[in-house]
Subunit: 713 residues, 2 copies
C-alpha cells in the first residue's frame, strides 16, 4: 500500500480558494480522468468530470436540504483541501479475480456551510482510472448531532442526449425490464404497465434507477450508481430533460423524511464509471473498492456454491408452495400437490448429491403459504414450523448423509417487523439443523407500513441480516432487496441478491426480452452478484401446460452461457432434475462450471447486444467461457490467448445448433470437443437469443489422443 | 353459571324486523338499564340507552367505512336476532374483590350490508346493571377475508350539555391533566400548552380520549370507554358540539389507515357505564367482564407486590440515568452521579429487604442513556449491556440472599422495532438473573416512524409483550402505553400500566392539580390498575434544590391514602429510603398496606372532589381505608360497618395535622391508635389537598389493654 500526501498541491489549493472562489482539479493515476471542483462567489460547490479531454459530467450541484434542523446546506466556505494518492491491492473472499487493485487520487474538501449555525461537511472525491466517486461526510461537531435529511441535492449533468439503459425510478421494486432509449425519451410511467410486478411505487415520469447505463454519441460509456449503501436510502435519479441533468432523489420513509443521521455520518459513494471501452467498464472494480473491508471476522464458512431446489416446479405450476392446496393469495390458480414434501425433497437431495451440488433449496417448507400474498398482512410466517408433510429432522439427517446441505428459505412477504421478531430463533433452527445458507425474500408491501423496500429503514434491515447471519456462520441470498452497491465486500457471507428481473419472470409473465441478460451486467450487476437462476432446459412452458404461451427468451445454450456471463458465487441449476436427466450431455457444463475465480477476461461486450467472458477457476487451471447475444444471431471468434502458453486444453463446446432460435427452436444444441491451446481462434455462431459455453481443462494424454485438435479457420 | 336462550323473545324480534324496519329492546337483569336498537327504512341501525326511564344515550349511529375494499358499511338487512341471559362469577388472579359477578342480557344482531358484495356483520349488545356494552364482529365469510378499516362510525349521542372530565384526544399520549368543563366547552387544543409532555399528537379541537367521565344535570354519571382492545387502534371521541354527539375516531397508522383485519375479526367492546351513584360506577367490573379469561395457562408466578427503586432520585435531580454524565438528550441539565451503581443499588436492596418489600426497580442500569431522548433514534438500548459500575452478577446474588428481586427496566425510547429485536434475549437475561418483573417504557416518538402509541400496530405490540412475558413467567408494568381496557384479565401478568399523568410530573413540571387523584379512578383506572408511584414524603422539591418551586400537590397523608384509593396490584414506595427512614411512623402504613384484596367498599366518591375506599386484605382479616380530597378541606365520617361484627380492631389512623395544607404545610401529620368495631363512626378531617389512611387489624389483647377505644362523637 502506497499513500503519500501531496503537500505542495494542498497549499496551492488553499491559496486559490482563499478568495472563496476558484477551482481545483485532480486526475486519475493514468491521467485520463479528471475531476474539477469549483466554488462560485455565492459559495456553491460544483463538480465536473472530463475523460480524455472530453467533458463527461458538466458542472453539477452538491449539497443538502435538511428537514430537522430546517436548513439549506448548499453554500459553503472551504476550510481546507487535502489530497492523497492510494495504490493498494486486496484479496476478496470470493470474486471474479483473485486480487483487486485499488488505485485512485483522492481530494478532500472540508467545508462549513453559510447557514447561521455552521454545519461542517466534508466531501471526498476520488479519481480512478475507470471512474469518479464521491461521498459526503458529516464529521462529529458540536452544532450538529442528530439531523434529518430532507433531500440530497447532488446532480449529474450529462452533456448530451445519450443512449441509455434504464428502468423506472421506483421506491419498491427493481424487477422491470430495461428500456433502451435516448435520455430525452425516458418515461418512467411505462412501469405502470408492468402488472406482473405486484408492488410498484413509481413517483415521477422522469425518474430512473441506478445503475444507470449510458453511451454518448462519441462512444463513451457512462454508468451512474452508488457504493456502500449503508444507513441511508437508495438514490433514484430524476431527469431534468431540458438540461440532461439527473438529480438525486432519495427514497422517503413513512412520513416523507429521507434519512435520520447522527454525526459522524457518511453518505454512500456516488459513483460514475466512465470508459470508451464497454469491456473495461464491465471489468471495473471501483464500486467494490469504495466499500469497506470485511466486517465478518471469520469468513471460513463462506463458500461459493451451486445448488438445486424445490422452486422451479412451483413457478411452472407443477406443485405449490402451500400445503393445504387452498392457494388463497398465492400465485397458483388450480390445486396442485405441495412441492416441499419429504419424498420430493429426498429426490432433490439424491440428485444434488449424485451431481456434485452443494445445496438443495426448499421453498414452501414452512406453514403460512395459504395466505401470505398481497394483503399487507403482518403475522404470516414464523420461520420455524414445518408443514406436516415436511420431516425436518429426517431430511436434515438424510442431507448430511448425502453430503449435501439444505438451503433455508425465509420469505418475509414484506412483513419485516415480523421477520425481525423471529430472526434469532430462525437462525438457531438453521444451525441446529446443519444449514448454513438462507435465501430470503421480500415479496409484498413492506411492514412497517409506509416504509419502502429501498428506504433507509429497509437498507438498515438488509445490512442487519447480512451482519447477523455473518456472525452466525450463515450465508445469505436476498430476493427483492434494494439494489446492491458492493456491500458484499463488507459482508462476504452476503453472497448474492436478486434485486432485478430474474429468470422466473419467463415462467409466468411476458418474461425477459432476449437482450435482458446482455444489459444486466452493465446495470444491476455493477452493484454485485445476482441470483438470476439460470440453467432452464425446458424452454417452453407449453411442455407443462399446452395452454401456456410463456417461455424462456433464450436458447438452451444461452442458459449455459449465463453461468459465466452472469457473475455470481451462488448459482442455481434452476430446472427440474428430470429435465436435466434427459439431457445429461448439456447438463455436464453446469456440473463442471466453477463459481469462484482467479481471473476474469471480458473478451468483448456491448450493452443490449452481446457479452463474451472467459474466467479461470479459483485454484485450478480450468477456464470457462460464456457468450450471449440479444435477439440477433452473431458470430464470435474466441481467441484463447488467455490460456497458459504451451499447454493443451480439452475444450468442450456447447453451442446453438445451426437451426436453433430462441423463439422457434430454442433447445437445439451441439456439443463438440477439441484440443486447443493459447493460439486457438475458434469461430462460434450464436443463434438469435442464443449463446455458447466452453469449458477448457488441461488435456490428459488420453484426451489428446482421442480428440481432434481445433484448427483455426 | 346460568345461561338460557330466550327463544320466545327471539321469534318476536324476528317478526318485528321482518319489514326491515322496527325496534328491539333488552333490559339489564335489574330492569333499570334498557337498550333499544332501531332499524330505519334505509337500513341504518341505531342504538339508544335509557336508565331508570331517562334517556342517557340518544339514537346513535353504528357502522363502518372500509378503505380496502372501498365500501360504506352503514345500512343493513337483519338476518337474525338472538338473545341470551348470562349470570356467572369468576375469580380473578388478583383484584379488588375475590369474586366477580358477570351478569347481563345479550342481544346479537346478525346483519348483511346493503353493499353490492354483502358484508356479514354481527353486533353484540349487552345490558348490565351498571352499563351497556357492544362490539362488532365480522364473521368468517367468503366475500370478505382481509380488509382495511377507514373509519368506525360509532356514535355516542348525549342528551345535554353534561359536566365532563376529559383530556385532549391524542394519538400518542394520555399524560394530560384532566379538564372539568361542560361538554360544550371542550377544547382539546389546551393540550398544546402541555409542553411538559414530549410527544403530543393532538388532531382535533373537539377530540377527547376515553375513559370520558360525565355527569348529567339530573345526577346521572356516564363513562364511555372500551374493553378488550386487541388488534385494533384505540378510540378517541370527536364531539359534534351542536348535537352533543361523540363520534369514534380511531388512531390512524403511518399511512392513514385505521385497522388491518382478517375475518373472523372482532372490535373491542364499546362500553358505557351508567349510574346515579358515583360509588357504584367506581365499583363497576363491566369492563373487566367484557374481557376474555386468562390466556396465560400457568399464573402461579403472578404476585401482587410492593417495590422501591432507583428512580425518584433521578426525578428530583440527585442522580442520573446515564453513566457518563454527558446527559445528552436526557432530562438532567447539570452533572450528577449515576444512580444505578452497585453500592447504591445494594442500599436499596437492604432497605427493601428490611422493610418487607418484594422488589427493587433499577432504572439506568443499561448502556444507552447518554443519547436516548427525543431524537427519533432507532438503535438506542440493547437491554442486555449493564453500565460498567453496575455489577449485574453481584447484585443478582445479593438480592437473592436478601430475599428480594431486582425489577428489570426496559425503556424502549419509543423505538419499538429495536425492542422487538431484543425481546427474546432480554427476557432470557432476566430469567437467568432471577428477575420476574419488568417495567417497560415508551417515551418518545414511535419507531416504526409514523406509527402512534395508540394505533393498531402498537396495541398489538403491547399485547405481544404481555403474552411473551406471560409465557416466560414474567410480570410486566408498562409506562406510556395505550390506555388500558381490562386486558389484565386476559394477561394477569400484565399487572399495571402508567398510561396517564403519574406522580412523577410533580417533580419537574407544573405537576398534577390537587383534584387529579380524585378524577383518575373515574377515568384512567376504569380500564385497569395504574402504577401511579405514590408515597412521596418529601413534598417540596426545594428540599433538594432551593431554587426549585415544584412540589407534590398533596399532603403527606394523601400520599398514604393513594395506596388504597388508587388501585393497583403493583405499588411503589416511590420516595428515597432516607426520606422514609426519617419518618418511620408514617412509613409504617406503606409497609402494612396490602396490594391484593378480598373485598372493596367504595364508601363515597365524587369525581373531582373526593374518594373514600375501604378494602379487605386478600386472605386476611385486615382492612385498609383511604380517603382523599381535592383542593378543599373536608370532613368524613368513617363508618366501619364493613368490619366483622363482634371483633375488635386496632385502628391506626394517619391523618393530616390540623394545620396541614398541601401548599403551605404538606408534611404535617398525626398518627393515632384506637380500638374500633363495626359500630364505629370516626370523624376525620382532610386538609386542603389532603387525605387520611387507616389500617384496621384484629386487635390483640395487648392492643385492647393499651389502646383507647374510639368513641363516636
Amino acid at each position: 500500500m502506497q499513500k503519500r500526501k501531496l503537500t505542495l498541491l494542498v497549499f496551492l489549493f488553499a491559496a486559490v480558494f482563499a478568495n472563496a472562489q476558484g477551482r481545483v482539479s485532480i486526475k486519475s493515476p493514468d491521467q485520463l480522468m479528471s475531476l474539477t471542483v469549483k466554488n462560485d462567489i455565492g459559495g456553491n460547490i460544483t463538480y465536473e468530470v472530463a475523460y480524455k479531454t472530453k467533458t463527461v459530467v458538466a458542472p453539477s450541484s452538491l449539497g443538502f436540504s435538511f428537514k430537522e434542523p430546517a436548513l439549506q446546506v448548499t453554500s459553503f466556505d472551504i476550510l481546507s483541501i487535502d489530497s492523497t494518492v492510494v495504490d493498494k491491492s486486496w484479496e476478496p473472499v470470493w470474486g471474479e479475480t483473485k486480487l483487486i487493485r485499488d488505485n485512485y487520487k483522492q481530494l478532500v474538501l472540508r467545508l462549513a456551510s453559510h447557514t447561521k449555525d455552521r454545519i461542517l461537511l466534508n466531501i471526498f472525491f476520488r479519481a480512478y482510472n475507470d471512474g469518479i466517486a464521491f461521498r459526503y461526510e458529516f464529521p462529529e461537531q458540536k452544532g450538529l448531532m442528530h439531523f434529518i435529511i430532507g433531500d440530497e441535492l447532488t446532480g449529474f449533468a450529462m452533456t448530451g442526449d445519450h443512449q441509455s439503459f434504464w428502468i423506472p425510478g421506483d421506491y419498491d421494486t427493481n424487477e422491470y425490464s430495461y428500456n433502451h432509449t435516448s435520455i430525452s425519451r425516458i418515461n418512467a410511467m411505462v412501469g405502470d404497465e408492468a402488472k406482473e410486478i405486484n408492488v410498484r411505487s413509481l413517483f415521477d415520469s422522469n425518474a430512473v434507477q441506478t445503475p444507470l447505463m449510458m453511451k454518448t454519441a462519441e462512444g463513451i460509456y457512462i454508468n451512474i450508481h452508488e457504493a456502500a449503501l449503508s444507513n441511508y436510502p437508495a438514490m433514484n435519479l430524476v431527469l431534468d430533460k431540458k438540461k440532461f441533468n439527473f438529480n438525486a432523489r432519495l427514497v422517503p420513509d413513512a412520513v416523507g423524511n429521507k434519512a435520520y443521521l447522527q454525526t459522524p455520518a457518511k453518505t454512500p459513494w456516488r459513483t460514475i464509471l466512465i470508459s470508451d471501452n464497454a469491456a473495461t467498464l464491465l471489468a471495473s472494480k471501483m464500486v467494490l473498492n469504495c466499500n469497506e473491508p470485511s466486517k465478518i471476522s471469520n469468513t471460513s464458512f463462506v463458500k461459493p456454491q451451486k445448488f438445486v431446489g424445490v422452486w422451479w416446479e412451483m413457478h411452472v405450476g407443477k406443485s405449490s408452495w402451500d400445503y393445504s392446496g387452498g392457494q388463497v393469495g398465492s400465485q397458483q390458480q388450480s390445486k396442485v400437490p405441495h412441492g416441499a414434501n419429504t419424498a420430493n425433497v429426498k429426490r432433490y437431495i439424491d440428485f444434488a448429491s449424485s451431481n456434485g451440488f452443494d445445496g438443495v433449496l426448499v421453498e414452501g417448507w414452512n406453514t403460512g403459504w395459504e395466505d401470505w400474498f398481497g394483503k399487507w398482512k403482518e403475522d404470516v410466517f414464523d420461520f420455524l414450523t414445518p408443514y406436516p408433510d415436511y420431516d425436518l429432522e429426517a431430511l436434515t439427517a438424510y442431507a448430511k448423509q448425502k453430503n449435501v446441505r439444505i438451503i433455508m428459505h425465509h420469505e418475509t412477504s414484506g412483513s419485516v417487523t415480523n421477520y425481525e421478531r423471529y430472526m434469532d430463533r430462525a437462525y438457531a433452527l438453521m444451525k441446529s439443523h446443519n444449514m448454513n445458507s438462507v435465501k430470503s425474500g421480500y415479496v409484498g408491501r413492506i411492514i412497517p407500513r409506509g416504509e419502502h423496500h429501498d428506504g433507509q429503514w429497509m437498507v438498515k434491515h438488509y445490512e442487519r441480516v447480512a451482519k447477523t447471519t455473518g456472525e452466525n456462520g450463515i450465508m445469505v441470498d436476498m430476493h427483492e432487496p434494494v439494489r446492491p452497491t458492493g456491500m458484499h465486500r463488507t459482508y462476504p457471507n452476503w453472497l448474492a441478491c436478486e434485486a432485478a428481473r430474474g429468470n422466473e419472470f419467463n415462467a409466468w409473465s411476458v418474461g425477459n426480452p432476449p437482450d435482458h441478460e446482455t444489459i444486466l451486467p452493465f446495470t444491476r450487476l455493477i452493484g454485485g452478484p445476482m441470483d438470476y437462476t439460470p440453467g432452464i432446459f425446458r424452454i417452453k412452458m407449453s411442455y407443462y401446460n399446452p395452454g401456456k404461451k410463456e417461455q424462456i427468451h433464450t436458447t438452451l445454450c444461452k442458459q449455459l452461457a449465463l453461468y459465466v456471463t452472469m457473475y455470481s458465487p451462488l448459482q442455481m441449476a434452476a430446472d427440474l432434475p428430470e429435465n436435466y436427466e434427459q439431457k445429461p450431455d448439456a447438463f455436464q457444463f453446469i456440473k463442471d462450471v466453477a463459481v469462484d475465480w482467479d481471473d476474469t477476461k471480458i473478451l468483448a461486450a456491448e450493452p443490449g447486444d452481446y457479452i463474451y467472458i472467459a474466467r479461470k477457476e479459483k485454484g485450478k487451471a480450468n477456464w470457462f467461457v460464456g457468450g450471449i447475444t440479444d435477439e440477433n444471431s452473431r458470430e464470435f471468434v474466441l481467441k484463447t490467448d488467455f490460456l497458459e502458453k504451451g499447454t493443451s486444453y480439452l475444450a468442450k463446446v456447447y453451442r446453438d445448433a445451426p437451426d436453433a432460435d430462441w423463439k422457434t427452436n430454442p433447445e437445439a444444441y451441439v456439443i463438440e470437443k477439441f484440443i486447443v491451446d493459447n493460439r486457438t481462434a475458434m469461430k462460434l455462431r450464436l443463434a438469435p437469443g442464443g449463446g455458447f459455453a466452453v469449458s477448457l481443462m488441461p488435456a490428459t494424454k488420453a484426451d489428446i489422443s482421442s480428440t481432434p485438435k481445433y484448427r483455426n479457420k
